[in-house]
Amino acid sequence: MSDNPLAVEVAGMALPNPIIAASGTFGFGPEYAPYVNLARLGAVAAKGVSWDPWPGNPPPRVWETAAGLLNSIGLQNPGVEVFCREDLPFLRRAQTRVIANVIGRTIDEYARVVERLEREAGIDAIEVNISCPNVKEGGISFGQDPDHAAAVTRAVRAVTRRPVIVKLSPNVSDPVAIAQAVAAAGADALSAINTVIGMAIDLKRRRPALGAVTGGLSGPAIKPIALRVVWEVAQSVHIPIIGIGGIESAEDVVEFLMAGATAVMMGTVTFRDPGRMEAVIEALPATLRALGFECVRDAIGAAQGFCEEARP
């Protein structure tokens, strides 16, 4: 591992590089297999799964915005049982690191899903999505309140020995309060951020562009919002952070690392360029060197250090 300048460890998970496919943008793996070498990625976060199948929201479910994308998929998924039976085997064979993303309408549903996943091999970590803005119950409502967020984390923590990553919402007054609550409740890592609530109007149809009216904004538009959450959370918790939001280049990755992230996830850009994650992995060593870093780990928090010195 020390020979590989890209190697990182996130909450006990050893990754060959810090680039992870973001949940919901990479299906359950096979969809992008014709275009992406999954084994080359740091890890793959699967689409979120719940206990029962969830139908998701009415279409249209996506809409382009300036440097961004609105989506209102609404966590359509076949339920954890089908996931384990039909989808996990492919990921298990893909020789990559697998992060299962978990959703629920109740704390108990989160726990039941994770308990069910515990019986399966081939999962390296659990990502708990308490931040999806596209569902009414569960999802973001757990992510906007420190106590609820902590309760979900504790419930999940109790039923798995795997690393637990809690995914934070930017749609809160104080992301640090949520981060501290889930860290105290036993999260091994945090991922930040999920999408930002937004909407668009379809002028011709005189109605909201998305079938579900509002949706989640992703893509380069939200990168500054994500960096701020990573930066502030990194200063206030002592568990690793996975940075997410608008990452498209190796420079973007280093920005997140320097802000305090240990790894990153890339989502929306894959729709346009399925090869981008691999291209970024390819470019990362030279980008790090050009900025004076020998390895990914040198860059983690590098801007944090500087700034603390500069403060009065």
Binding site: G27, P34, K47, P55, R61, L69, Q76, T268, F271, P274
Partner: protein
């Protein structure tokens, strides 16, 4: 052929009507695609743009897409010149099934729904022993594309325009109903705007098989993001949707609900 990401060179660019451009690229393997399949093309903007193949010609090795300029992505595409590269994923989705050789066949296209039907007609016309009818409609004359291409191949499309500027005034529904009256068990392949497809499906119901080429806003184009869903006809089974990008874009009319 299995889908792949490829960079193709624009070999020919033709403005076929006002705001309608057809781009040809030589890619012999791609011409094995099934009519009704589509290419997901990189333009400016956050997402790729789905465009059906208008031609898939193994003889010349040329494939093509024909599109109407409606927004930023298609405007960018329309401004490409011959010799420039295009980055596409394809062929994607499930195309039309080969038509049954002994059933009368009617192809019903609206506007830029006509091009994929031209590809289907060109691919399978020789395999049919029953008569073939092409109905091509649009709002106005310049949006009825590829009529000359059908003629050059020996067909005489029934043309309709909403404003009567070409062919019969009205929609494709008129000619389709007349055709159905005389070919009650015929097979119908239709492609065009969703309201037209809904009307076609309603008209064909109770007759022969009806295949529809659907549109929906897409994210990935490969089945990963679940953006491109349309409601499944059967509300009871799971999932209650079909994905246009990989379960379609061609569906049997009974499979989906068009709202």
């Amino acid at each position: 052929m299995p889908p792949a990401r490829m960079v193709v060179c624009i070999e020919r660019r033709e403005v076929v009507a006002r705001d309608h451009v057809e781009l040809y690229f030589r890619h012999p393997a791609l011409t094995a695609a099934v009519p009704g399949q589509f290419a997901h093309i990189l333009t400016e903007g956050t997402l790729r743009r789905p465009l059906s193949f208008s031609r898939l010609d193994p003889a010349s090795g040329l494939a093509a897409v024909l599109f109407r300029v409606v927004g930023r992505g298609t405007a960018w595409l329309a401004a490409r010149r011959e010799g420039e590269p295009l980055d596409l994923l394809g062929p994607l989705g499930r195309g039309f099934p080969p038509p049954e050789p002994d059933r009368p066949w009617c192809l019903v296209g609206g506007g830029v729904g006509i091009p994929p039907l031209f590809a289907a007609w060109a691919r399978w016309k020789a395999s049919l022993r029953a008569p073939i009818t092409v109905i091509a409609g649009a709002r106005t004359r310049e949006a009825v594309v590829m009529v000359e291409d059908f003629r050059a191949g020996g067909a005489e499309p029934w043309v309709t325009t909403d404003d009567g500027s070409l062919g019969e005034a009205g929609t494709v529904l008129g000619p389709l109903r007349r055709w159905l009256a005389s070919h009650p068990q015929g097979q119908v392949y239709a492609c065009g705007p969703t309201p037209m497809l809904a009307a076609v499906a309603a008209a064909v119901q109770g007759h022969g098989p009806c295949y529809l080429g659907l549109e929906q806003r897409m994210g990935c184009g490969v089945g990963a993001c679940l953006a491109c869903v349309v409601p499944a006809a059967d509300r009871a089974t799971w999932p209650p949707w079909r994905r246009v990008c990989c379960d379609g874009p061609v569906f049997l009319a009974e499979e989906v609900r068009l709202e």
